[in-house]
């Protein structure tokens, strides 16, 4: 199903961005682990593939930091799944990380494309 070129299109996630992505994904409501990974994948146009070896540690870490909380629910396919949900602390953290990220990308863009800036 997945093409080789699709695989090569993948980008390594920057350190620390996975937390932001998870928090952002959970903004629209509770999701389970598989759901989160699918959301990131489709949301990024198949570019970002989250490795399960990173996803679950991250989820458990965020849960320990009390930014998300987990609950066992029944899925559409009638299966017991553990779904994660943003806490109010998590929402604050999301805002913080997003503004941080925006600043970072703006700064990065400024350095990587100086010509465009002077043209404008």
């Amino acid at each position: 199903m997945k093409t080789k070129s699709g695989y090569e299109n993948r980008i390594e996630l920057l350190q620390g961005t996975l937390d932001l992505l998870i928090l952002q994904t959970l903004q629209w409501g509770p999701r389970h682990g598989y759901g989160i990974s699918q959301a990131i994948r489709t949301g990024s146009g198949e570019v970002l593939h989250v490795d399960t070896g990173s996803l679950y540690p991250a989820l458990h870490r965020l849960e320990r930091k009390k930014w998300i909380k987990a609950a066992w629910t029944t899925s559409d396919s009638n299966q017991q799944v553990k779904s994660y949900q943003l806490t109010s602390a998590g929402k604050k953290q999301l805002l913080k990380e997003r503004s941080h990220w925006d600043k970072l990308t703006a700064a990065m863009a400024g350095i990587l494309h100086p010509a465009r800036q002077t043209n404008e």
Binding site: H32, Y34, Y56, Q80, V81
Partner: protein, 865 residues
């Protein structure tokens, strides 16, 4: 803990379910997209990666994972330890021995020296002693006490007591000699103690005539009166006088000494309130809250100066010294015990060096393992944790064994302890002692781990992986040499201390005390004055005892004196010599002894001039006196003292000197500078007498016949302190003997440990240098060159250690000076013998590895790597 594992299990199951759900959903998605179930599952699993690894990494996010890792490390540690039992046994035994030695000694030091006294706010209790130009430490004179009590502001209260007020207890049972103390009514409030039964003394009972009341010790009450609850109000007979029991103290109250069995009221005659020279009373005081010992000392200095101005004749240069009561009770035992503690800690440190060395060897031989772990991403803190976890079981087993051994060792040691040691009953493995041991263990462990890991960070990963051992181990080799050098240095110090203490003991043992110690039996008698009221009656009893004892077979000579040699310090009295320029009434440290004619002969104290007392010297004949040679020399230097006269004071009658005898060590073996003056028992009667019996046979065989002869004269007359004179000498040396013995044991052990240390390093060196030795041999080096190389290495380290150790000994032995006798702190014999011994020991330790080096076959050695 159970709950913890329960919760942990649940979390594990949850994680399993979570991952299972993830996989199931992924599979279902793929099936929905048209893949076959088998193909879908295969692809999902492939995509998911290593399920176990994912779980493992996720689990590590959980809070208790570090604890769990410790558990893993511990399990791993135990597994690796199982593979090297020799290492384990050595580590455990070294540790156990060090902990046992130190804990045992510390429990003695704690009980005798450090433990707070069993009174309320004990740190505020102090003792006060008088210092005169002649004697440093004397009891208190009553008039001085009264002035201190009235003038001082730092004390809440001050009390004097008579530390020895001993009694013959008769009636209901065998007659018994009991040590007692005369105490004032205010001592109960001062010490904050109350009798367990009954009440304390009242001020009225401290008045002469009202004082026939007694308080019993818990031990006496239990032993003699079967813990009779109704004892209060009963009458007991002390010195044949009825005393009413008014109280029983609790078992922890052992004041002023642990031998004190009963207390009677201290009575002070009105006349005694005038004396500033009758130094008779121990003094205890309680500081006001927040007052310090220094403040008290300052105030006492001011009072002493004031008294010296008021009473220049008797108080000039008289000072009062104050010290915490606890230190005062521990007294002369403090220094020997602290020396022992220092020696035991030295032993532990030497053991530490060995352990660190062992661990270093171990990490060295596991260098590659460590390098691989580092290469695989183990942080240095993880490696440290790993080493610690490996050591932890060893430390724990060593500690437990050590504490058990200490418990056993203490039981072994207690009977060996000198009976003169105070507070022996308070020695035990109690909480503070255990805390000390735990602290010691932690420090030991920390030192060992830090030393052995200290160089781990510095090691060169690439070189180690290449097996280029020389570069990567250089640092550690130096560290190991340093460890051995410090070991040797500490051993030198311990051996030097032990040697000086042994030589002191030998010097004292060989010292001529001035009297015969072999074949002389002694015992003490307290003649009750209310039974033998007059001096004549006392004298008659003495004569009868002497007569009966002399009739015992094998007895050569029998005498009595009121104080035996080596029975410690006694008070001061005045003596005036008939000579030009003599100031009458001057106080000097005079040692007055009342004796019977044959006393000096029985003790073999030599007659230098004139004669001994004879039966012709009686109460009615002229007063006569015998002096020791030193007094005679000092009083009438060069002149013949026979026929000269002395008297006790301006109002006393003159007595004629009839004999001069040898000087004896009367107070203690080390020194006795006092004027020794002997009086005739018929002319100056005393009711506390010691009987000395000289025999040609074994003095122990005399005990029964002598006791029987005394009993046949007066069945109510108890005898006590039955000892041979050589036992008297040994008892006076018991603390020194104990000290020398234990320090020597520690020093010998440390020598053994140092030898092991040298052996370990040298044999490791030889193993490391196999290739080098092979090359040298291949190039034509002969056996002696190889031997020189190996021995040279060991001896160089030893020499460095000896140098440091000798230097350290020079500095440290200064603090030992007060414990030494007849040997200088820089004793050349010691300072030559100890290094020689160490060189010998080091050579021995090097010989085995040297033999191994000589057997190196160049061909095999070159092929070695």
């Amino acid at each position: 803990m159970n709950k913890f594992w329960q919760r942990r299990k649940e979390k594990d199951l949850e994680l399993d379910a979570e991952i299972r759900a993830h996989i199931d959903q992924a599979v279902r998605d793929r099936i929905d997209r048209g893949e076959s179930p088998d193909e879908a599952r295969l692809k999902v699993l492939n995509e998911f990666g290593n399920v176990l690894l994912v779980k493992e990494v996720t689990r590590s996010m959980w809070r208790w994972s570090s604890l769990e890792r410790l558990g893993q490390d511990l399990r791993f540690g135990l597994r690796t330890l199982k593979k090297s039992p020799g290492f384990c046994v050595v580590v455990i035994l070294t540790l156990a021995f060090g902990i046992a030695a130190t804990t045992t000694i510390f429990s003695v030091v704690y009980g005798v020296v450090l433990r707070p006294l069993p009174f309320q706010d004990p740190e505020r209790l102090v003792a006060i002693w008088t210092q005169t130009p002649q004697v440093d430490r004397l009891p208190m004179a009553v008039a001085n006490y009264r002035d201190i009590r009235e003038q001082s502001t730092v004390f809440e209260d001050v009390a004097i007591l008579r530390a020895t007020a001993n009694y013959n207890l008769t009636g209901d049972g065998d007659p018994e000699w009991l040590q007692g103390a005369g105490i004032p009514s205010n001592i109960f409030s001062l010490l904050r103690v109350d009798p367990a039964l009954g009440r304390g003394f009242t001020a009225e009972e401290n008045q002469p005539g009202n004082d026939h009341v007694v308080i019993l010790s818990h031990a006496l009450w239990h032993r003699r009166y079967g813990s009779d609850i109704n004892i209060v109000g009963r009458t007991i007979r002390l010195e044949n006088i009825p005393y009413t029991v008014i109280g029983v103290m609790n078992s922890a109250f052992r004041y002023p000494t642990r031998e004190t069995q009963l207390w009677t009221p201290l009575t002070v005659n009105p006349a005694d309130y005038q004396t500033r020279t009758g130094f008779a009373h121990a003094t205890v005081a309680r500081l006001k809250p927040n007052a310090t010992v220094t403040q008290a000392q300052n105030e006492l200095n001011i009072i002493a100066t004031r008294l010296a101005q008021q009473y220049p004749a008797v108080n000039t240069n008289v000072r009062f010294n104050v010290s915490p009561l606890r230190d005062d009770i521990a007294g002369p035992a403090t220094k020997p015990l602290l020396t022992l503690l220092a020696a035991s800690i030295g032993l532990v440190l030497i053991g530490c060096c060995n352990l660190a060395n062992l661990l270093l060897t171990r990490t060295l031989s596991r260098n590659r393992e460590m390098a691989v772990r580092t290469a695989l991403g183990a942080s240095s803190s993880q490696l440290l944790l790993h080493t610690a976890a490996e050591l932890l079981p060893l430390l724990s087993i060593g500690a437990i064994l050590g504490l058990l051994a200490a418990k056993f060792g203490l039981r072994l040691l207690l009977p060996l302890l000198p009976t003169t040691l105070p507070r022996i009953d308070e020695i035990g493995l109690n909480l503070p002692v255990l805390l000390f041991s735990v602290a010691l263990l932690l420090v030991t462990g920390a030192i060992v781990i830090v030393i052995s890991m200290g160089s781990a960070k510095r090691f060169d990963l690439a070189a180690t992986l290449r097996e280029d051992t020389r570069t990567s181990t250089h640092n550690r080799a130096r560290l190991r040499n340093l460890l051995v050098i410090s070991q040797v240095a500490m051993t030198v110090i311990l051996l030097t201390g032990a040697s000086l203490l042994i030589r002191t003991f030998v010097a004292l043992k060989e010292l001529d005390p001035g009297f015969r110690t072999q074949g002389v039996l002694s015992l003490r008698l307290a003649i009750p004055r209310n039974k033998y009221k007059s001096d004549q009656k006392v004298a008659a009893l003495c004569q009868e005892i002497l007569q009966k004892t002399r009739a015992v077979p094998q007895v050569e000579a029998v005498g009595m004196g009121n104080r035996l040699p080596l029975s410690g310090p006694s008070g001061l009295s005045t003596i005036e010599f008939e000579r030009p320029g003599e100031t009458p009434g001057a106080l000097s440290a005079t040692d007055d002894t009342t004796i019977t004619p044959e006393y000096l002969r029985a003790l073999d104290i030599p007659l230098r001039r004139g004669r001994f007392f004879t039966d012709a010297d009686t109460a009615d004949s002229p007063l006569v006196v015998i002096l020791d040679e030193q007094v005679a020399q000092r009083a009438w230097s060069g002149e013949n003292p026979i026929g000269k006269r002395v008297r006790s004071g301006p109002t006393s009658p003159w007595a004629e000197v009839v004999g001069v005898v040898g000087h004896v060590r009367h107070e203690k073996l080390e020194t006795d500078e006092r004027w020794q003056i002997y009086w005739n028992y018929l002319q100056r009667a005393r009711d506390r007498m010691s009987l000395v019996v000289r025999t040609s046979g074994d003095p122990h065989s005399l005990v029964t016949p002598v006791l029987n002869s005394i009993k046949s004269i007066d069945p109510d007359q108890p005898s006590f302190a039955i000892r041979t004179m050589s036992e008297v000498v040994d008892q006076s040396l018991s603390l020194r003997w104990f000290n020398a013995l234990v320090v020597s044991l520690f020093a010998a052990s440390s020598l053994l440990l140092a030898m092991l240390g040298i052996y370990g390093v040298i044999s490791w060196n030889v193993a490391q240098q196999t290739r080098e030795i092979g090359v040298r041999m291949a190039l034509g080096a002969n056996r002696s060159a190889v031997l020189r190389m190996v021995l040279g290495k060991g001896l160089r380290m030893t020499a460095a250690g000896i140098g440091i150790g000798v230097l350290g000994s020079f500095l440290l032995m200064r603090s030992l000076r007060s414990l030494l006798f007849g040997v200088a702190q820089t004793d050349p014999v010691t300072f030559l013998a100890v290094p020689a011994l160490l060189i010998l020991a080091a050579t021995l330790a090097c010989l085995i590895p040297a033999r191994r080096a000589l057997k190196v076959d160049p061909l095999i050695a070159l092929r070695y790597e």
